[in-house]
């Protein structure tokens, strides 16, 4: 059972959308990541205040032919993977202020 509802882009990264993909570079170790089309949609919508299920419903299911439960499972795998690399912050509360309850990879 996931213990987060909100996702936000880390401040310690540099990112740029290139076509349907997004490049993200970790500022801590200069590691490069390339996000595919769906991950890029989630990334762009990860503002810290929009719940992940709302992102999935409005940005993924509305745009792609995919069942909501499958889309949600895929989205969770994506955001947890990005959080493991320190690119995204996950929280059970809106991430409008630094220091709120959140999970970020070391």
């Amino acid at each position: 059972m996931k213990n987060y509802r909100y996702v936000a882009r880390s401040k310690s990264i540099a990112a740029r959308a290139l076509g349907d993909e997004t490049m993200v570079m970790s500022a801590s170790d200069s590691t490069l990541f390339t996000l595919n089309e769906v991950a890029s949609v989630i990334w762009a919508a990860a503002d810290g205040v929009t719940p992940l299920d709302e992102i999935v419903a409005k940005k993924i299911c509305a745009q792609y032919d995919i069942a909501p439960e499958v889309a949600m499972k895929d989205a969770e795998a994506i955001v947890e993977g990005l959080a493991d690399h320190g690119l995204l912050l996950l929280s059970d509360q809106p991430l409008t202020e630094p220091g709120s309850s959140r999970r970020e990879a070391p």
Partner: protein
């Protein structure tokens, strides 16, 4: 512009790479003479310099053999360290100090680091690449060690002006990218010509049975470029600067994969 005369003034010599004059002071006249010889073609006859570095020579064996470069920002100074040198540089006072062994390549490394830091703020970078000017346009050939940078330089036709066989100097001037000659050389063991020209294309090198050019776009182009940019400081601000510069460069300059057989015919494709 180039065409400078090598002149040593007292206990210092001014080396201007990429048009940026840096004065190097040292009490040892023999070492200064070696600097003048090492950077021939890039030694300025002008007294003026943007930055001053005092070089202190350490006895052989007093520094470590550590090969890792560390560049950190601390209390308004850049600290640069490797086994064979320790250096600090305060951009605000425009002064720095270098402690190194009697080895011109230590100074080479410090200068490369200083230029990467300065270029990052101006939208430029140093790139693992050979480069040459042909018909007024610069071509860059980038890759890791063994990819063929020096080979491309050796195969260059007589009408090409070689800028470097190892480290290309990329500047951004009025929104356009230009390549500038550097004294930083690889296996060719020869400094590049002190010239500059707008960049026509960046080729990412690969060796193969026949010559072939393929366009590279989007994230592949940026990844290919970023993988070869010299970058030492892990400071988040500088990571952002270099990342954004790489994205901008790849959006403006054609990036291509150049697979080549090592013979002069490859240059027939470079137009």
């Amino acid at each position: 512009m180039p065409g400078v005369t090598a002149v040593m003034q007292g206990s210092s010599v001014v080396v201007a790479i990429g048009g940026l004059p840096i004065r190097l002071r040292c009490d040892d006249p023999d070492f200064l003479r070696s600097i003048e010889e090492r950077y021939a073609g890039y030694v300025s006859s002008s007294q003026s310099a943007r930055f001053d570095f005092e070089i202190e020579l350490a006895p052989a064996g007093t520094l470590s053999r550590d090969e890792d470069v560390r560049v950190t920002w601390d209390s308004g100074r850049w600290l640069m360290e490797r086994g064979d040198f320790r250096a600090e540089w305060n951009p605000s006072t425009a002064r720095g100090r270098i402690q190194q062994t009697l080895n011109p390549y230590s100074l080479d490394s410090v200068l490369r680091i200083v230029h990467t830091l300065l270029l990052a703020r101006e939208g430029g970078f140093l790139l693992h690449a050979s480069s040459a000017i042909r018909n007024g346009r610069a071509f860059l050939f980038s890759g890791v060690s063994g990819a063929g940078k020096t080979t491309m330089a050796r195969l260059a036709p007589p009408d090409a002006a070689l800028l470097t066989d190892e480290i290309s100097y990329v500047t951004r001037q009025e929104g356009r990218y230009a390549a500038v000659g550097t004294p930083f050389f690889g296996e060719l063991a020869r400094a590049g010509e002190n010239l500059q020209a707008p960049i026509e294309a960046l080729y990412l090198l690969a060796k193969g049975p026949e010559n072939k050019i393929e366009p590279i776009t989007g994230t592949d182009a940026v990844c290919g470029l970023l993988g070869n940019i010299l970058f030492f400081a892990r400071d988040p601000e500088f990571v952002n600067l270099v990342f954004n510069t790489a994205c901008d460069f790849a959006a403006r300059i054609p990036v291509r994969r150049l697979t080549f057989a090592p013979d002069t015919s490859v240059w027939e494709l470079i137009v």
